[in-house]
């Protein structure tokens, strides 16, 4: 499955167009339990645990989008965009969307 943010794929021609495919995951942002985040908030710096958490969440959203594209018979997704939004206090949704196409 080819994934790109651009609308054209080098050396390939788009032969079929399946429309928008999306994938989303909602994750809890309840960080108050984590001791280390509290410490990091005193000295500042990267919160590695949460970087990984957001990475996993985003991967899951992408996998759902890819699965939807595969079901349609696509072999590439172009024009991919991501969006994160607060859906409820303490929860965030990571949303991935793109256009599923068939290329050859």
């Amino acid at each position: 499955m080819i994934l790109t943010t651009i609308d054209l794929i080098p050396d390939k021609m788009i032969t079929e167009h399946f429309g928008i495919v999306t994938g989303s995951t909602v994750r809890s942002k309840n960080f108050a339990r984590d001791m280390f985040a509290g410490l990091k908030n005193i000295v500042g710096g990267e919160l590695k645990g949460y970087t990984e958490l957001m990475e996993e969440t985003r991967d899951e959203a992408m996998q759902r989008m890819i699965a939807q594209a595969k079901n349609l018979g696509a072999n590439a997704i172009i024009g991919i965009r991501f969006s994160t939004s607060d859906v409820a206090p303490g929860a965030a949704e990571v949303f991935a969307y793109g256009t599923a196409v068939k290329v050859s």
Partner: protein, 149 residues
């Protein structure tokens, strides 16, 4: 009595935050500069790409980071927040995070063998006052033949 203990904790937090926080920020900026110099040869483009004839391979890459401000900066910003105005401590936080996310994107792309990164996008989200997450994503491409690089 309890109030005094709380004030002591706040004072310790502020001192630790100020001392270690500003040191960490300086080190981070130096680290960003070093990595930027190493990766300068890979252009990152934001505009819409109309012509892909000189590229031969494309793949989505992502760089993300979650960074928190130290207690001193958070404290000062909350006081400034009462009066309104620019929060320069958060401006530098956002700046650092964006640079870090873009550098991580480039580093992943280089491992794959990229020559350019096209249509870069940036997304940010706040993590409940604990910090900010920046996501940088784009399409890495390889040149068709080395004449173009």
């Amino acid at each position: 009595m309890e109030l005094i203990i709380q004030l002591i904790f706040v004072a310790i937090g502020l001192t630790l935050g100020y001392v270690f926080g500003s040191k960490k920020e300086k080190e981070h900026y130096q680290n960003l500069l070093e990595r930027h110099r190493k990766l300068k040869h890979i252009p990152v483009r934001v505009e819409k790409i109309k012509d892909v004839s000189k590229y031969c391979d494309a793949q989505l890459f992502v760089g993300n980071v979650v960074i928190a401000n130290d207690y001193f900066k958070t404290f000062v910003a909350s006081i400034k927040g009462l009066f309104g105005g620019r929060l320069s401590s958060y401006e530098s936080l956002m700046d650092r995070s964006r640079r870090e996310a873009i550098l991580r994107l480039k580093e992943h792309a280089i491992q794959w063998g990229a020559n350019e990164v096209l249509e870069l996008r940036l997304e940010s989200s706040a993590l409940d006052a604990l910090g900010v997450e920046i996501l940088a994503y784009g399409t890495a491409v390889k040149y068709k033949n080395e004449i173009h690089s």
